[in-house]
Symmetry: C2
């Protein structure tokens, strides 16, 4: 969905950032404002389970932190990844040592879950924009295709499926995740416990 401000004006990033937040969140990309889709069941489930799993692997040892629906503003755009993961030392803090409210850096790992009806090209553009600006890893999760396409800097993306082991941030090196592990979260009949 594209929102317009006023009649035909192109908002600046600063103007966009002063607008009230919407629900679902809106993103500012190349002078246009796009509202994210309202997440549906599978999207919501994958977003919750994967962020929880990353935090279980990353938080106890202060290695990495996953945050859902976090606004990240950098390099002239303001995006809201489905899941943004930061290495522990990159988490921005305020003067009191608490997690900052404004994130003006790219996530170290961006995870996007394709919704039905969503444009794959727009999602790929968002992931490649991040990777060109410092993100180390991107997932494009396609539940219909039961595949996860992995983006890394200066590489052709790789479409992973089934028992393929997914690359994760190197700080999480002891943790292993397969594509099947991810899509098992969607299955409630005879569901594997992982």
């Amino acid at each position: 969905m594209t929102l317009t401000i006023g009649s035909t004006s192109v908002p600046t990033l600063e103007e966009f950032l002063q607008l009230p937040e919407t629900k679902p969140a809106s993103e500012y990309i190349d002078g246009k404002i796009y509202q994210k889709l309202m997440p549906q069941g599978k999207h919501s489930r994958l977003q919750t389970c994967l962020s929880t799993a990353i935090n279980q692997a990353g938080e106890p040892k202060k290695l990495a932190l996953a945050l859902t629906e976090l606004r990240c503003t950098f390099s002239g755009k303001s995006i809201v990844p489905d899941i943004a993961v930061f290495e522990w030392e990159n988490i921005p803090l305020d003067e009191n040592g608490q997690i900052a409210n404004k994130f003006e850096i790219p996530p170290d790992w961006i995870i996007e879950i394709l919704s039905p009806e969503q444009s794959a090209s727009k999602v790929i553009r968002k992931i490649t924009f991040c990777i060109k600006n410092g993100t180390k890893l991107g997932y494009f999760i396609d539940a219909d295709d039961k595949s996860i396409t992995v983006f890394q800097p200066n590489q052709l993306p790789e479409v992973k499926e089934g028992l393929d082991i997914l690359p994760v941030l190197s700080v999480l090196q002891d943790w292993q995740l397969t594509v099947e592990d991810v899509f098992n979260w969607l299955s409630f009949s005879g569901r594997k416990i992982i």
Copy 2:
């Protein structure tokens, strides 16, 4: 669409190649047979115009040749790109010096046009499979998004749009094409003549 042969048997590539051709064509990927979608208006128009344009640029000087719906069998798969482009010297010939019937090499350039309802991940998998096996250039054309994602070896894909100039095979170095040129072919009201 997935076809099954017999009951639960996994066909070999050789078994697949002995089956009669279907319309739309079927592809053999990782032990499974997928039938391509019946092309719709926009898909058909883009396929026709882009292959014609490439041949106008490439055929007179014997630089490159575009072929639509050509079966290419290599590296264990048998795929049918929407458009397969070969540099002139790579066109397989038979003993009479005519174009061969069987193409057992990857195209130098693969062009795929996303159909509505088609899985973007499946198309990306097909393009990256080609590029990992010798293809130099891949286009993923998304008419709904008015964008063309360009794949090249060992690179992050780039999503091009509007007046962005598209990379083409280096043998066609004098020829220039923008994303807008491609999508103008879809427009019949006030259509630009290019």
